[in-house]
């Protein structure tokens, strides 16, 4: 067993910490105060691009280096968990707003054809300007129950025609392209689902509406519609051949399994920020000598550490390509609850200062709630775990 962070990773975390303090947090607080997403042309985004952020992990069309070997198993997920936790510590909203391929990158890397990688990830290799992409699964009538989506894809000559509505999609109106999950036949559930690249400006893609949220205001969560939106056949993720076997839904779920610990790590990061702030507030107000306060801070720190280890274990399993359904859901169910508990504790220590609405902890209290909602609510995580642990029936 081993529980250590190597020097290179620690240095990178320190860099995130410095930049988080100097940039992400002030920008996130400002977006929260103004109640709007960071504008597309904000100089902050341009600065990120200038210093090489917002790029794809895709290394280009060159032949891949052999996997495994001296380097041992992949550490991609575990590293992501560490970085994401630290980014969320400073501002989770700003983190999501950061330019880049974002959520669909994993899907495209895992399932995309070489031509699709070149076409859709290529512009993110050395982006000339801040660029975004996004993944659109959630619909007004289908959240955690991803098998129930209604957005339809109909084959029409050489292309596809999409119809439907998506909601709460991060960065959608500013994305170069949206990876849209749609169904060939809603009555056939998962097996009939496919993902399609829909480029911004495609006729029929529209009705963008930026939602007003309780927190995480720095990035846009957007609803949009697809009305007879025609796209070329080559925009089907993975190409036609891939779907000769019914594996469409499973691929989407594979991504989700790495996604849950990531959301959980977000909650740990936000919770840690609240704990730090609460502890400082308690120190400044002479409350650390109070055993009850100490006890409550101790519990918060203990639960955060536990949640963090649960995340890392789930990520570690994912990196080894070992089944982690129970562990991934567990990390998310636990971490999201703890994040809420810790921010709520922070509010209690602040007392009426928290009620003013201008303290960082008050923002964190609103922000963290989403971590128990996205990628499946805490209740859905328990359903997923129960299916595995006790074979809870689906109906």
């Amino acid at each position: 067993m081993k529980f250590e962070i190597d020097k290179a990773t620690r240095d990178r975390l320190e860099m995130i910490r410095e930049r988080g303090r100097a940039e992400a947090r002030p920008i996130g607080l400002e977006a929260d105060r103004l109640g709007r997403p960071i504008p597309v042309d904000d100089p902050y985004f341009a600065k990120l691009i200038e210093r090489g952020e917002g790029r794809t992990r895709w290394s280009g069309p060159a032949p891949k280096e052999p996997k495994g070997g001296a380097g041992g198993p992949s550490q991609v997920t575990v590293m992501s968990l560490l970085f994401v936790e630290e980014l969320a510590y400073w501002d989770r909203g700003v983190m999501v707003a950061t330019p880049g391929v974002g959520l669909p990158e994993g899907n495209v890397l895992a399932m995309g054809t070489e031509e699709q990688k070149e076409r859709f990830l290529g512009p993110f290799r050395e982006p000339d300007r801040p660029r975004w992409a996004c993944f659109a699964m959630t619909e007004p009538g289908a959240g955690s129950d991803a098998a129930a989506i209604q957005t339809s894809a109909r084959r029409d000559g050489e292309g596809w025609v999409l119809n439907g509505a998506k909601c709460f999609i991060g960065n959608a109106s500013r994305s170069d392209w949206i990876l849209v999950q749609a169904t060939l036949d809603p009555s056939k559930g998962r097996a009939a689902q496919r993902a399609f690249f829909v480029e911004q400006g495609t006729p029929g893609l529209g009705g963008f509406r930026i939602e007003k949220k309780m927190g995480l205001k720095a990035y846009e969560s957007t609803s949009f519609t697809l009305q007879d939106c025609r796209i070329p056949a080559s925009n089907l993720l993975g190409g036609e051949e891939r779907y000769e076997k019914p594996s469409g839904f499973k691929s989407a779920m594979r991504v989700f399994n790495a996604g849950r610990p990531i959301v959980a790590a977000n909650a740990v990061g936000i919770g840690r920020a609240a704990l730090d702030e609460a502890r400082e507030f308690a120190r400044e107000h002479g409350l650390l000598g109070d055993a009850r306060t100490r006890d409550r801070l101790e519990r918060a720190a203990r639960k955060l550490k536990m949640a963090r280890l649960l995340c890392l274990r789930a990520g570690w399993l994912a990196d080894r390509q070992k089944p982690n359904i129970v562990e991934a859901s567990m990390s998310k169910a636990v971490a999201a609850e703890i994040g809420q508990e810790v921010t709520s504790l922070g509010m209690e220590l602040l007392g009426t200062v928290g009620a003013r609405g201008d303290h960082l902890i008050e923002k964190l209290y609103r922000d963290v709630k989403a971590m128990d909602l996205v990628e499946g609510t805490g209740q859905i995580q328990r359903v997923i775990m129960a299916r595995k642990l006790v074979g809870l029936p689906r109906d």
Partner: protein, 361 residues
């Protein structure tokens, strides 16, 4: 970076402990509980396995393994029977105060002789758990120890450890849990102090290791409670289906699993710290506190899942519940652990070093 597997060498030891616990201890848990001791033949088998000297230095004939080995083995033994696990370990957590504060000399003088004495028990008593007057001699009362004999008493108080052997009068108690190890009240009447050690740093490590020893027994006990009640919930039917398939109950089962896993990870991380020789006191206090808190969820809910059957002694769940509670009371209990971890937290710089809450060294 991170590795959540024990590794081949430890796996082998853990497997040995596991088969022993599942084949020898678990089937006889009521028998051992009633007898207040472990069957001599099973004791002999255990002796041959060499697990008693797991953490003793090789120079003293032990296996020279560390805290991680101990917590993994204790988990398995406790999944069989935590009382038996205590009964089978002649040194128990008393080892740590002797080893950390007194070093090899103390081990040679006080610990080794016990290894040759059948059924001998060294006991660790934290002064918070007793009512003792400590001077040149020790007098007073220890309300409960999980043993019917006290061949050696190691008393810890702050940065100090004292060794007492004579002048101890024991009287048997029924005991709330852990009866396979016995249960007594001890009265000390001017018991001579044979050795007295004082070292703040060593005392901190000894406290950490003792907490992990018990936390591992807790994790093993609640793991067993969670799996036994899950098995029952799959078998028992109500309203036309296994009770585990009622969502309300299935959520309880998932929450119990999460509680066990979370406590277990904190335990392993803290034990890893001990073995690395890095700061481990707060991590061990945290692991102990979480194990106790989780056990108060898992123990009683193991009974809950079985309904009325859980209350009856035909099933072991009521035993798991009592033993979870009893284990959580030693070494100052959860309050002392929370206070130690809380003090460390309040003293840490701000913002936390990246290694702090995260628990990564």
């Amino acid at each position: 970076m991170f590795d959540f597997e024990a590794g081949d060498d430890l796996d082998l030891i853990v497997e040995t402990a596991k088969s022993f616990a599942q084949e020898e201890l678990l089937p006889r848990l009521r028998e051992h509980e009633a007898a207040r001791s472990v069957d001599p033949a099973i004791r002999a088998t255990f002796g041959e396995m060499g697990l008693a000297g797991l953490e003793l230095p090789e120079s003293l004939g032990g296996a020279g393994l560390g805290a991680l080995a101990r917590v993994l083995v204790n988990e398995e033994l406790a999944a069989g029977d935590p009382g038996a696990a205590l009964a089978l370990d002649p040194l128990g957590p008393a080892l740590y105060a002797l080893a950390e504060l007194g070093g090899e000399e103390a081990l040679r003088t006080f610990a080794l002789p016990l290894l040759d004495l059948d059924g001998a028990r060294a006991l660790l008593v934290c002064d918070a758990d007793a009512d003792l007057e400590i001077g040149e001699e020790v007098s007073g009362r220890v309300p409960w120890v999980p043993s019917d004999r006290a061949d050696l008493l190691v008393i810890t108080r702050g940065d100090e450890a004292l060794v007492v052997r004579d002048g101890i009068q024991g009287s048997e108690l029924r005991g709330s849990g852990l009866r396979a190890a016995g249960a007594s009240e001890l009265v000390l009447d001017a018991a001579p102090v044979l050795a007295r050690y004082c070292d703040p740093q060593a005392a901190g490590r000894a406290r950490a290791r003792a907490r992990l020893y018990t936390a591992a027994l807790l994790v093993g006990t609640m793991r067993q409670a969670a799996s036994a009640s899950l098995e029952y919930a799959l078998d028992r039917e109500a309203f036309g289906r296994p009770i585990a398939h009622h969502q309300g109950l299935s959520f309880l089962i998932t929450d119990m699993r999460a509680a066990v896993d979370g406590a277990r990870l904190l335990l392993h991380e803290a034990a890893w710290r001990v073995d690395q020789g890095i700061a481990c006191e707060a991590a061990a206090a945290t692991a102990f506190a979480e194990a106790v808190e989780a056990s108060t969820l898992v123990g009683p809910n193991g009974v809950q899942i079985l309904g009325g059957h859980g209350f009856m002694q035909d099933y072991p769940l009521e035993k798991h519940m009592r033993e979870c509670r009893a284990l959580g009371l030693v070494q100052g209990g959860i309050d002392a652990a929370r206070e130690d971890a809380g003090q460390a937290l309040c003293a840490a710089p701000s913002p936390f070093p990246l290694s702090h809450v995260e628990g990564a060294g």
